[in-house]
């Protein structure tokens, strides 16, 4: 039996940049199907890195190094397992979507277009914005994965983030400063991935182009994905989904935002609008991403130990606080005692 195709597609970028609608558009292609947003594969990749470190820590006396099971091999084997699981459960996803289409607010035509009846659907599309921070780890799990970085003007994104909770009850950012900061972090992470892997792995698309030049943008996207163009993928754009319905007169009443953050974000947003993505990959940027990933793995690997250390610190502070409070109470008692005695001395008037 031929191994199933393992070439997932991740739509990354800041939340409220069109990641969901683009995922649904792609899911209308006969060879692609959209999976719900996930938030576990990034942390899973970090866990695999830790597992390999432990399993290879003692050289010839550790199972993974003794068997020459390399880090890349372990990652790819687990990525293959995830891919197999997702492909195997395509039908279950369809059934669940059909039975809960009202609750999930999924249009009937979309269900039809994303069903396996519409084509072989051999690749899946995941539009989790949080994965902007985990592109390195996802590439380890899925070495043939492709990434689409969708980018939208920061001011529009911030307005949308701040209004999202009114419509959905989900708070994406507690205030304007956090919204700017989150946009900056996700977009910067995606730009680093663009530099690291080049346009054969990460494809940048502007939200404005998706709306204003939809066919052109989608043709370019399918050329990148190496799938034939189909006009059906434009259909979801006709519907407004997942909108945060920003009122035209919306003005943030948040506490004042640091102007330096706004300036930095607006400048980056303007630059991206004007300049194309880098045309080559950079081994230096890959090394930086690798170092950041390993640092994160190290952080997570020692978190349990560090938490125990923090708990010891908390206990010592609490003990110190309680000792000082007792000392204060004792001083107060002595003071009251002295005051009482003074009042009892004849001729003392206090």
């Amino acid at each position: 039996m031929q191994a199933p195709i393992n070439k997932p597609i991740f739509v990354v970028g800041s939340p409220r940049s069109g990641t969901s609608i683009l995922t649904w558009c792609l899911g209308h292609h006969p060879n692609l199907f959209p999976v719900p947003e996930s938030n576990w594969m990034g942390s899973f990749a970090v866990n695999v890195a830790i597992a390999h470190q432990v399993g290879a820590a003692r050289g010839d006396h550790s199972i993974l190094s003794a068997m020459e099971i390399r880090n890349d091999e372990l990652f790819a084997a687990f990525g293959q397992s995830i891919n197999d699981l997702i492909l195997r459960h395509r039908k279950d996803l369809e059934t669940k979507r059909e039975t809960r289409s009202k609750e999930l607010k999924i249009d009937g035509r979309w269900l039809e277009a994303t069903s396996t009846l519409a084509g072989p659907k051999e690749r899946w599309v995941d539009g989790t914005p949080e994965y902007s921070f985990y592109i390195y780890g996802l590439r380890k799990l899925f070495p043939d994965a492709l990434f689409i970085h969708i980018i939208r003007d920061v001011r529009t994104v911030v307005r949308s983030m701040l209004n999202f909770h009114r419509v959905t009850g989900v708070q994406l950012a507690p205030n304007e400063q956090e919204a700017y900061s989150y946009w900056l972090r996700t977009v910067s992470a995606c730009l680093e991935a663009e530099r690291a892997y080049g346009p054969n792995v990460v494809h940048r698309i502007r939200y404005a182009d998706l709306i204003d030049n939809a066919e052109l943008a989608m043709r370019s996207l399918f050329a990148f994905l190496k799938e034939p163009y189909t006009a059906k993928c434009l259909e979801p754009l006709a519907l407004r989904i997942n909108s945060s319905e920003v009122p035209p007169d919306f003005k943030s009443d948040n506490p004042p935002t640091n102007p330096a953050i706004i300036e930095e974000a607006c400048q980056l947003s303007n630059n991206i609008e004007k300049s194309p993505q880098p045309s080559a990959s950079s081994s230096g940027a890959v090394a930086e991403m690798e170092a950041a990933f390993e640092k994160r793995a190290q952080y997570i690997a020692t978190l349990d130990m560090d938490k125990s250390r923090l708990e010891v610190v908390v206990c010592s502070y609490q003990a110190e606080q309680s000792r000082l409070e007792s000392a204060i109470a004792e001083l107060q008692r002595q003071f009251d005692d002295l005051s009482d005695r003074l009042t009892q001395i004849p001729g003392t008037n206090r």
């Binding site: 576990w40 399993g55 003794a66 068997m67 279950d92 669940k96 502070y317 204060i328």
Partner: protein, 328 residues
């Protein structure tokens, strides 16, 4: 590839109970491949379960819950990947081991040996039987048990790197034995003798053939006399001096009494024949507790950091009040 047998064997128990030598013995069987200490698998099972919880947290909107992947299937699929990786690296392992000056045992006697299963002897796996069964539902476990006094003497005289003692105190040694043996006994009760097979170290030494026949029967493999060969060598020994007296006045006598009593029972009583649903639930609850702990760890860590900052502030405030009270 998915048709491969996924029936690994784990030798568990306290360190210095013969887990290494027993794994060497078992891997002499033509159908069983040796594995170095696989101590990453237990924590990995917990991490995988944590990620399954994350992927199912949003009900119908969570990815794994939406596509209907339960946690059993999720962990099982990674277990199958691990099994395939290990079995497919047999050649690399053999050629790497061939470079050793004095190989402690034969990896394979001929390329025709099927070696379709593997054995790993890692005492730390005593704590992870429940999670390992989630990765490998058909795994079998051998609980090797040795008299606690011998184990304590051996632990206190074992210098893995030739310089540093593995265990600092007698109390620590007793604690190590008690915790691992109790975990294995929980697993015996939970899964019964068709999944966990108890074996006495003394039987391995004094009645090796009978012990090995019984063990291979449990594993569902035909008897192979070559499995006794590694017992002729002294492997991984801790060289306890004949006049060594481990007795340390700082050791808690109640703990020693508890360990001695349990050790005597294990030498004299047979393992229970039945499984206990209550014991299985207890192990499942412990596994879930660990999964929840690691699921919440990042958040709790940040909360602890915030608490420290607020306590530091409060402490400064209290100190200032104390200074004020002293002046008064």
């Amino acid at each position: 590839m998915r048709d491969q047998v996924t029936k690994p064997i784990f030798v568990v128990g306290s360190p210095r109970s013969g887990t290494t030598v027993l794994a060497y013995c078992i891997c002499q069987h033509p159908n069983i491949l040796y594995q170095e200490e696989a101590d990453w698998l237990g924590p990995f099972a917990i991490d995988a379960a944590v990620n399954h919880r994350r992927g199912s947290a949003r009900g119908p909107r969570g990815q794994l819950s939406a596509i209907g992947v339960g946690h059993e299937e999720f962990l099982l699929s990674f277990g199958q990947s691990i099994n395939e990786l290990i079995l497919s690296h047999r050649k690399q392992f053999q050629s790497r081991r061939a470079q050793w000056d004095v190989p402690p045992f034969t990896i394979s006697r001929s390329p025709e040996e099927p070696k379709s299963r593997w054995v790993a002897g890692a005492p730390e796996n005593s704590f992870y039987v429940c999670g390992l069964r989630k990765l490998f539902p058909q795994a079998l476990f051998i609980h090797l048990v040795r008299d606690v006094k011998d184990v304590v003497r051996s632990l206190l005289n074992f210098f893995p790197d030739g310089r540093n003692r593995l265990i600092a105190t007698e109390q620590d040694a007793y604690d190590i034995w008690l915790r691992r043996v109790n975990s294995c006994l929980d697993a015996e009760r939970a899964y019964g003798p068709s999944v966990v097979h108890r074996m006495r170290y003394s039987d391995l030494l004094h009645q090796p053939e009978a012990a090995m026949r019984s063990l291979l029967e449990f594993l569902g493999e035909p008897y192979a006399p070559q499995c006794l060969e590694p017992l002729a060598k002294r492997i991984n020994s801790s060289n306890v001096p004949s006049n060594f007296n481990p007795s340390d006045p700082a050791t808690d006598p109640a703990m020693v009494a508890r360990a001695d009593e349990l050790s005597d029972q294990l030498q004299n009583l047979r393992q229970p024949r039945e499984t206990s649903a209550g014991a299985a639930e207890k192990l499942e609850a412990e596994f879930d507790h660990l999964v929840q702990y690691f699921h919440d760890l990042g958040r709790n860590y940040s909360e602890a950091q915030r608490l420290i900052i607020s306590l530091q502030r409060e402490l400064e405030h209290v100190k200032a009040s104390a200074a004020g009270a002293s002046v008064t």
